[in-house]
């Protein structure tokens, strides 16, 4: 599903964020990217959803070499990749329903279908009763559930999460990880970047550890 061959990412000033990364994530897998802050986890996720391009090497997502994709093709590829961030990235002036619906609207789906699918996914994450609330009025855990609903509403093949529990307490973190597990059980490939040791120890999943931009352990 995701293949990297000798991928390098260098930022301006010769700062090497990723060095010679080669890895493969299978379809339907649940993988953790572990490592300290600055190890390169977020950069690797950004490469996977095409927010950055590799400086060197090949990155294939769903069999497509992302370095060769144009702007429009990247947009269409992203509709198959749900992304969840630590800071939720919700629009504060839009309601919960509108924040989730935005991911369906871009596909040009009929309004009735959008409303039905948005309601259905919000029900799944336990927020059907907060459709018309604005994000700033929700708790951190609820906001993250809205972000997950938005990431999943298009039924993507891949779900990427960058420190999804970083701002949450243990109980809320467990809820969020439960939602990611559910998505994985339905066949979605899930990649979670985290430096939370408790999370890594409690989950019986493959862990890829990064250290100074290199793969240290698989």
């Amino acid at each position: 599903m995701i293949q990297l061959f000798h991928v390098y990412k260098t930022f301006s000033g010769d700062q090497q964020a990723l060095v010679d990364i080669t890895m493969e994530i299978e379809k339907g897998e649940f993988v953790y990217l572990a490592g300290a802050s600055g190890a390169g986890k977020s950069t690797l996720l950004k490469l996977m959803f095409c927010a950055l391009r590799p400086t060197r090497g090949q990155l294939l997502v769903n069999g497509r070499n992302v370095a060769r994709l144009g702007t429009k093709a990247i947009a269409y590829l992203r509709r198959n990749i749900g992304v969840v961030f630590q800071d939720f990235k919700l629009l504060p002036r839009l309601t919960v329903e509108e924040n989730v619906a935005i991911a369906r609207e871009i596909t040009g789906a009929p309004r009735r279908d959008i409303r039905r699918q948005t309601y259905s996914i919000l029900k799944e994450v336990g927020l059907a009763h907060k459709l018309h609330q604005l994000p700033p009025r929700l708790s951190g855990g609820e906001q993250q559930r809205v972000a997950i609903a938005r990431a999943l509403v298009n039924e993507p093949q891949i779900l990427l999460a960058d420190e999804p529990t970083g701002n949450l307490d243990e109980e809320r973190s467990a809820e969020i990880m439960g939602l990611l597990e559910q998505a994985n059980n339905r066949g979605t490939t899930v990649v979670v970047a985290t430096h939370d040791r408790n999370l890594l120890e409690s989950a019986n999943r493959r862990v890829i550890t990064l250290e100074d931009g290199r793969v240290a352990e698989r």
Binding site: F49, A51, T71, A75, R78, R79, N80, L91, R93, I106
Partner: protein
């Protein structure tokens, strides 16, 4: 297709409604700059009107040969009046010419004291249709008149007329250059104002890109928003022009009446108002597209 169009239009309207301050600022900038441009155009039109009135007061004078007997002057006048460009022709006898000369003042009168009453030649003064706005036509008429038997010379204030023509050309050229400069300045101001509004919504654009929106999907609602701002700004400038026409133009006309009689100052006409609205829409859509395009390019690079 129509559903998509309605969706984008709806988003554009909603953005305008949700950001009244920014929308007012942008439409206000479009309106104010177009109002200044509109005033310039109207000022130019009024100046051209002024030049036309000055041109109408000018006359072409054909001097009659002394050999032509007094009874031969009237047929010559009638012949000249028959020319297409001539509105009417007036015969001025040597005695009338002398009287006019004397009327110039005491020194002029003293100069011709005791001379023969027929010292000055008889002449025919021609008033032209449409005045002297077209110098080439006047020159052609002067040539035709000079070639008539019985006419010795023609005077139409060539130098003054050429100066008037130069002034008109300068005004037109100045108007064109000023128009281009104002258009560039307006586009620049509007584009920068719209950039501010786009920047204020950068989070929305970033999230849209994140969930897989194409550049066209991101850009189109902003184009509708620009269209609304442009319509409002262009309409407001046309309204301000109309208000200026109603409240200021009559007073300006009265103020200049002593200098140029018959000149009615106008600060509004439907043609200019239409151009202002179309220019507003163009500026709004173009400025908006440019601003959001630049932002998308920055985010992509």
């Amino acid at each position: 297709m129509m559903r998509r169009l309605f969706y984008f239009a709806g988003k554009g309207f909603r953005s305008v409604r949700d950001s009244p301050g920014i929308s007012l600022l942008t439409a206000g900038t479009v309106g104010a700059t177009l109002f200044v441009a509109g005033l310039y155009v109207m000022a130019l039109q009024n100046l051209e009107g002024l030049a036309l009135i000055w041109g109408r007061t000018a006359t072409l004078t054909a001097y009659i040969d002394d050999a032509v007997p007094p009874e031969g002057r009237e047929p010559l006048r009638a012949r000249l009046e028959a020319f297409e460009q001539v509105e009417h022709a007036v015969l001025v006898s040597p005695i009338e010419a002398l009287e006019r000369f004397k009327a110039r003042g005491a020194s002029a009168a003293a100069l011709v004291e005791g001379v023969s009453e027929e010292i000055l030649p008889a002449s025919i003064e021609l008033q032209l249709e449409g005045g002297f706005a077209d110098l080439t036509a006047v020159e052609k008429l002067a040539l035709q008149t000079r070639e008539l038997p019985g006419v010795t010379d023609v005077d139409y204030g060539q130098q003054e007329l050429e100066r008037l023509q130069t002034l008109l050309d300068l005004l037109r050229m100045g108007g064109l250059i000023a128009g281009i400069l104002i258009a560039i300045a307006t586009a620049f101001i509007v584009s920068n104002t719209i950039r501010l509004t786009v920047y204020a919504r950068r989070d929305e654009i970033i999230i849209l890109r994140l969930v897989g929106a194409t550049n066209g999907f991101i850009r189109t609602p902003y184009l509708f928003e620009g269209l609304i701002w442009g319509l409002a700004g262009g309409g407001a400038s046309a309204l301000m022009m109309w208000l200026a026409d109603v409240s200021l133009a009559p007073q300006i006309s009265i103020a200049v009446a002593n200098v140029v009689g018959g000149l009615n100052i106008h600060l509004f006409n439907l043609e200019v108002a239409g151009i202002l609205v179309v220019a507003g829409v163009f500026l709004g859509v173009f400025g908006s597209g440019l601003a959001v395009g630049r932002f998308i390019d920055q985010e992509t690079s």
